[in-house]
Symmetry: C2
Subunit: 328 residues, 2 copies
DNA sequence: CTGAAAGCGCTTACAG
DNA sequence: CTGAAAGCGCTTACAG
């Protein structure tokens, strides 16, 4: 069912049907009526693909992500609200080959496949590397060293605050489980950890710094190693909640009580962090706002009227729960 | 940056570039090498739009949804896992005009704009009406009376179980807040309520049945009205958790203690239902599994090898928490 | 093994 | 006011 079918039924050319579909001026009222009737009768809808191939502007924005965690839903809500009534629709592209041969750099590949033809611009969530495109791009949590317009939480301040919190509770040996080092957020959170320690006159002990990758699973062996040391830390700060919750699990397995023997803190404030017993002390970053700001920025970039900076940094907030207490 | 650019740089025709990009046989090794080099140098990626316009099969499946609640994330996880390594990518289309003039029937419109050109088939989440398409469609929670292939939870059994639970606790006046009547799930949950009452020899009191629309907000005035009756119910079953949680709020405002004065139960088991104090008694339906089964079904339908029934019904499970107790 | 040409479903100058 | 034609970026018979 294409435009030709409509044209045939209405007895006009496809050019005329196109004009009616797009509400262009210069079509007689009676022709419009005929064409509308034909469209109605056939239930015709124009092909998004054909339209966007032909037009330079599509009024569709893209979002490329590699997973659907619960935080992704928050990001999407923020994006949708920002786009509501804006005239832009949203296409989310997800590839099914996440663990396959092409997993590295796939954001860039999908971006290139959408940009210019399907989308007027794209949001990329936690890209694994620098992204380039002929159309505007906004990264949510960009890669380390990336220069694309981006939105992030104030990871440095958040990490500093949570470590200061642990220090104020009397902890002196504080372990750290780092995130995927290709992401700027991982670096900033580590930097916050280091600065807070330095400000308190404590030298960071390399033996207490473990290298995770933000996946909860990666934290299990790392937490175990940290906690089985004879001089184990009295507190562990994991670079995100997933890894912190896993640390809580490992502590339980090892028979350590939290927060009696060990304090644990995370970052993100995902819903699950409030669920457990004890609740997880963490740093709240509003994924909703990240999504909202990214969409707002992208929209302006596409329209060419963006006045703000190339980088938006949103405030974070320390959330203290039962998993942290005075050092033993 | 198009295929022509690559062709020019490699000194061949676009036909040859296309053959190399798609790994077709019949291109000399040296030509392949040249073209590969040119692709590499330019960072070329083929346009998804142009490719799918030309090809009949795109290996892209679509998903059309009207919102991104937390359950949507669960559905998407299930879909992605089912599609992992399947060779199908996923496109999610969300329109920004949710509250605008075209909101009614927009699933059908977007479906038509994607189907046939961009996607080989689509999943539609809680469609507001019957959906039709030239390519396979699977509905998650179809509209009432819809005949498209669909996946749902066993809403009837789940609702029956939760009302039986309330009856077993001694409740005799049980209020019900219904969902959006255009959805089959709303109807089945109401039917479960009626059947459980009937089986217990209790006539359903029309005054205790309120008509909500699944949005939490819609439940506030309804719950208030039910609870301000002189002969108020001792228990309320809301057709989903959002409305049940809102009912909890209203009860609190009215100074009623839950579960002392009033028992409340919901349906869905969204994460928030476990968070409050008291936790919400509800019926678990795995949104992950709904998504997973829908994707599996769609994939087979597209490949033409679907052997199962046109309707998949997944089991539900009663989850009792603090919000229900013996009738006062 | 390679290229010229047609065509996927649209839109848009250009004529008339 | 309307249509024939070109072209968006690809793929695929068809020739050679």
């Amino acid at each position: 069912m294409t435009m030709s079918d409509v044209a045939r039924l209405a007895g006009v050319s496809t050019a005329t049907v196109s004009r009616v579909v797009n509400g262009r001026y210069g079509v007689s009222a009676s022709t419009v009526a005929h064409v509308r009737a034909a469209i109605e009768r056939l239930g015709y809808e124009s092909s998004l693909v054909a339209t966007s191939l032909r037009r330079s502007r599509t009024n569709v924005l893209g979002l490329v992500t590699h997973s659907f965690q619960s935080y992704t839903a928050e990001v999407l809500k923020g994006v949708m609200d920002a786009l509501s009534q804006s005239g832009f629709d949203l296409i989310i592209y997800a590839n099914s080959d996440l663990y396959g041969t092409y997993s590295e750099g796939w954001e860039q590949r999908h971006l290139a496949r959408l940009a210019g033809t399907l989308t007027d611009g794209c949001i990329v969530v936690t890209p694994s590397g620098e992204v380039r495109s002929g159309t505007p791009v906004v990264a949510i949590d960009p890669a380390m060293g990336s220069t694309v317009p981006a939105v992030t939480a104030d990871n440095l301040a958040g990490a500093t605050a949570v470590v200061e919190h642990l220090l104020a509770l009397g902890h002196r040996r504080i372990g750290f489980i780092a995130g995927r080092s290709s992401l700027e957020a991982a670096w900033s959170r580590e930097e916050g950890y280091r600065r807070a320690l330095a400000a308190a006159g404590i030298a960071a002990d390399p033996a207490l710094i473990a290298r995770g990758d933000f996946n909860a699973e990666s934290a299990a062996p790392l937490a175990r190693e940290l906690l089985e040391r004879p001089d184990r830390p009295t507190a562990i700060f994991a670079a995100n909640d997933g890894m912190a919750l896993k640390t809580l699990e490992v502590a339980r397995e090892l028979g350590l009580s939290v927060p009696g023997d060990l304090s644990v803190a995370g970052f993100d404030n995902i819903p699950e962090s409030a669920l457990g017993e004890p609740g997880l002390t963490t740093v709240d970053q509003s994924m909703y706002r990240l999504g909202h700001e990214a969409a707002r920025m992208l929209k302006s970039l596409v329209c060419g009227d963006w006045e703000g900076p190339g980088r938006i940094v949103l405030p974070t907030r320390l959330v203290t729960r039962g998993s942290t207490a005075a050092a033993p």
